[in-house]
């Protein structure tokens, strides 16, 4: 048994609180009905953000992961929650983007008349459910508990896609549900094999017992396959564009920015926390290859889209490809793997904030102009200056131009690929940047050219500023100090620390 | 040597099995669905009754025997009414 018999470290209860706030919010909103669901969610966001920051502070201060065994029962039998560096960073990012999405959608899903309305109750409950599911995914340490969190995430995200009830959104939601269910059932099969082989599902305990046997390889392949389906990596990306493009703006910001990152985060947990002992050379190369293919295919398809939201959704497919370059670039315990690790996490954060900002501004644009056909956006930039400034700055981060977070992520990736001698990965990174420039150019040319555009309604100032604040965070990430990169290293195995 | 009770159990369960087989043969051989339904409903209920009867002496205590009888009663109730519902649907379908 590990030396870690203690059932909690100081501040451990914060992890439980981080989960209970949204869960309590769901139960309260469902009981009190749709009229108060909005106020409950908006009321909870500051507290949730405060708890996320407190966890990050606690992890930073102690320099070790924060641990909490639920029910006082240490892992093999009980379930444990563990927040290390990357969990804390993702919790803070989730809190920020969800608060922004909640305040953005405050008016659209406000409880208008005295009767409870369908879309209001659904939106607010599902938004809190996404928050709860993501929190558990980031701090969970038991593979079956993470399966239930993945299901929670699926049940929260699918109805959001078809909230306005048009047939194509229902078809998109159905495809999304089928892909997600296939993903989680494949994940569950892998979990069953792990339990059959080692009798525990706790990540650190499993990491100590794992050997490269065929059973472990099959289980790892099944879990990775399931998670790739849920992360919409290249061959399995068919469900993402229609789903993210048809959801309401606030929902697609959360879907593209955070929900897709949840299953990617579990892939990181699997290959870097459960299986560091295994020789993962070929697997890392395969994932990197799929990632590069996704970068290129996503970029090319984004170039050909007629609607702005579909273009941004395909850009998500492309940017997800970048995330999977972390596997070859951060593998092992070399000097350059720390650079690869920081690059990957920076890319996750930069893309989350930039993509959320772009979807929110696309929402403002769609409401103001009434449609989102790119060709018909002639001269829109003069009428909606702040919105298009946000889209342009978001594009800056996607392309990887300084001073954005996207630039520092891609720059670190290039550094890692050169330092590790795997220069091959620099090709997709650079081509991806070019393709991103291509589809950003396609958006901005008609908008910046002069011409008259008919406006249906005046844009709401507060929605534009929320999107602008998010994109400024994405740019500010480019100036992240070294302390930020050390923070991400906390609790990472092979970083000179046993994964207690 | 087999006690009288065991003999009784074997005989009852054997008869039950025979009625199940008869019901299945009826299902396969009879021309249309109404007659098949008839065969199934009658034979299986009786077959289950006999099997339950055969198992009662082997049940460990009174409660076990009561449970067996309750199971049989429930199956007869639900089997009978389901057969009636299917029969009505079949007849309505043919009209």
């Amino acid at each position: 048994m590990t030396a870690d018999i203690a059932t909690t470290t100081p501040g451990g209860f914060l992890l439980v609180l981080a989960v209970l706030l949204p869960v309590g919010g769901i139960i309260l909103s469902f009981a009190t009905g749709g009229r108060h669901a909005g106020q409950i969610t908006l009321g909870l966001t500051p507290f949730g953000s405060a708890v996320a920051c407190a966890i990050a502070f606690r992890v930073g201060q102690s320099g070790k992961p924060v641990f909490y065994a639920i029910g006082g029962l240490p892992p093999p039998l009980g379930i444990a929650l563990r927040a290390d560096g990357i969990s804390a960073v993702m919790l803070v990012a989730t809190a920020a983007i969800l608060t922004a999405a909640a305040f953005y959608a405050r008016e659209k899903f406000a409880a208008r008349d005295v009767r409870e309305s369908r879309s209001a109750l659904t939106f607010w409950i599902l938004l809190q459910a996404i928050w709860a599911a993501l929190t558990i995914i980031f701090v969970g340490s038991d593979l079956f508990n993470l399966y239930v969190a993945l299901e929670l995430l699926t049940f929260a995200a699918v109805p959001l896609v078809c909230i306005d009830g048009r047939p194509e959104t229902l078809a998109a939601a159905l495809r999304y549900l089928l892909f997600a269910l296939f993903g989680s059932i494949s994940y569950l099969l892998g979990v069953a094999l792990f339990y059959g082989a080692y009798g525990t599902l706790d990540i650190p305990l499993l990491a100590q017992r794992v050997q490269p046997t065929p059973v472990v390889w099959t289980a790892a392949a099944l879990i990775t396959g399931g998670l790739l389906a849920k992360t919409a990596l290249f061959p399995l990306h068919l469900w993402l564009p229609p789903a993210h493009a048809n959801a309401p703006a606030a929902a697609s910001a959360v879907l593209s920015g955070l929900v897709v990152k949840g299953s990617f985060f579990l892939t990181l947990r699997l290959w870097f926390y459960v299986l560091p002992a295994l020789p993962t050379g070929q697997v890392a190369a395969a994932l990197g290859g799929l990632g590069s293919a996704a970068v290129i295919v996503g970029g090319v398809l984004a170039l050909r889209q007629a609607r702005l939201k579909l273009l941004i959704a395909y850009s998500t497919v492309s940017q997800i490809g970048y995330l999977f370059l972390i596997f070859p670039l951060a593998a092992g315990a070399h000097a350059w793997s720390t650079i690869g690790w920081s690059a990957g996490l920076m890319q996750v954060l930069a893309h989350a904030f930039a993509k959320a900002a772009m979807f929110l501004s696309a929402g403002v644009l769609a409401e103001a102009v009434g449609h989102d056909q790119i060709a018909k956006l002639v001269g829109a930039a003069r009428v909606l200056p702040l919105t298009f400034l946000t889209i342009a700055l978001g594009g800056l981060s996607l392309m990887g131009l300084p001073p954005s977070g996207g630039f520092s992520a891609k720059w670190l990736m290039l550094q890692a690929s050169v330092a590790s001698g795997q220069w091959i990965w620099s090709l997709p990174i650079l081509t991806g940047g070019l393709l991103a420039a291509g589809y950003m150019y396609r958006i901005l040319t008609p908008a910046l050219s002069d011409g008259e555009i008919s406006m249906e309604s005046a844009p709401r100032r507060y929605q534009e500023t929320i999107a602008f604040v998010l994109v400024m965070i994405a740019l500010a990430l480019g100036f992240a100090p070294q302390a930020f990169f050390d923070f991400i290293e906390i609790g990472r195995p092979l970083a000179g620390e046993d994964p207690s | 040597m087999i006690s009288a009770l065991d003999l009784f159990s074997i005989a009852a369960i054997g008869a039950g099995a025979f009625f199940f087989v008869a019901g299945t043969i009826g299902l396969l051989r009879f021309p249309d669905s109404l007659t098949r339904l008839h065969a199934l409903a009658k034979a299986d209920n009786l077959g289950l009754g006999l099997v339950a009867l055969g198992l009662i002496p082997r049940a460990e205590n009174g409660l076990g025997a009561l449970k067996l009888i309750l199971i049989w009663a429930l199956v007869v109730a639900s089997g009978g009414s389901t057969a009636q519902l299917i029969g009505r649907a079949l007849r309505r379908g043919r009209k």
Binding site: I27, F30, S117, F155, A197, V215 | A77
Partner: protein, 317 residues
């Protein structure tokens, strides 16, 4: 040569054949009916695996409630005759997928056969922990569900609430607040009404018994709740009871009763027993039964609401 393997081999053969018929048959409704038969057969396989609790859940939820859900959907969708014939996959695609599926099945079977001979198990820890906070529970599965892995079970109740919200959100805006469409025919057959009048009281009694005995013998909140849910659905199918309005206050409170009570007791556990979801030693059994009562209520209300579907704009304004 005991007769046991024949039963197992026969059962395994039967299950795989019925599963094949579910996949192979052309007609949609026939596939759904064979799936329901498959679900009930599976309960026998669980008995052979010494898992009576799971057999109860599989029969009640996997075979029964899912069966009603799929049959009602199959009946409505089977009516699409005019739809353009779906693009039937070409034989090459079939062969390819068949080969891929066979490959996966063999790899999985090989992995299962290669599981270590001395199987690691948490049974000893579970037994040891039985002397701890989860004391006094004869049924180890209920102890695992409510005491050791209570976080999973509470989350799973929240998943049920989200599923209900998701199913309701699919309805039309103007229909919000109306009850879902009735499950049974407008003029229910007398045989159905008779069956409901006979079955529902006995079934409800059995459901409560299964829940109550669950602390020490196979059974528990899930199985009891599923049985009670089935009985309410039988009553609704015989039009003895109508699905409630979805904004009915009691319905909302019943749906959240399980997770809410679980959460409150979990939070209380911090001050009383030192950790979230910890139970004071000695009081574990009464507290667990108290939590399970509300869980039974939540499950018994949630499953029929999921089967009844979204609010319908049909009957009442």
């Amino acid at each position: 040569m005991s007769v046991l393997p024949f039963i197992d081999v026969g059962l395994a053969f039967l299950v795989v054949t019925v599963a094949c018929s579910t996949i192979i048959t052309r007609d949609l409704f026939a596939a759904v009916v064979s799936y329901v038969a498959y679900g009930l057969l599976l309960a026998f396989v669980w008995i052979r695996l010494h898992a009576p609790d799971v057999a109860l859940t599989e029969a009640a939820v996997g075979g029964g409630v899912t069966g009603v859900l799929l049959i009602t959907a199959g009946k409505r969708l089977a009516a699409i005759k005019k739809a353009a014939p779906e693009a039937h996959p070409t034989t090459t695609l079939k062969l390819l997928t068949g080969a891929l599926a066979a490959l996966l099945a063999c790899a999985l079977a090989a992995a299962i056969l290669m599981l270590p001979d001395v199987p690691p198990s948490l049974a000893p820890e579970a037994a040891a922990a039985a002397s701890g906070p989860g004391a006094g529970l004869g049924n180890p599965i209920t102890a695992v569900l409510i005491s050791y892995r209570s976080f999973d079970t509470m989350l799973e109740k929240v998943v049920l609430i989200l599923a209900v919200v998701g199913v309701w959100s699919v309805g039309a805006d103007k229909a919000w607040g109306n009850p879902p469409a009735p499950l049974g025919r407008p003029g229910p057959y007398p045989a159905m009404v008779f069956l409901a009048q006979v079955l529902v009281p006995i079934g409800a009694l059995i459901g409560i018994h299964v829940f109550w005995v669950g602390a020490d013998a196979p059974g528990g909140a899930f199985q009891g709740g599923a049985l009670l849910a089935a009985m309410w659905m039988v009553a609704m199918m015989a039009r003895l009871g109508e699905p409630p309005r979805i904004d009915a206050r009691w319905l909302r409170l019943a749906l959240i009763a399980g997770p809410a009570v679980f959460l409150i007791i979990g939070l209380a556990g911090i001050s009383i027993a030192g950790s979230f979801f910890a139970y004071p030693p000695g009081f574990a059994k009464p507290i667990i039964l108290f939590i399970e009562t509300f869980m039974v209520l939540s499950i018994a209300v949630a499953l029929p609401m999921l089967v009844a579907g979204p609010p319908s704009e049909g009957n009442r304004p």
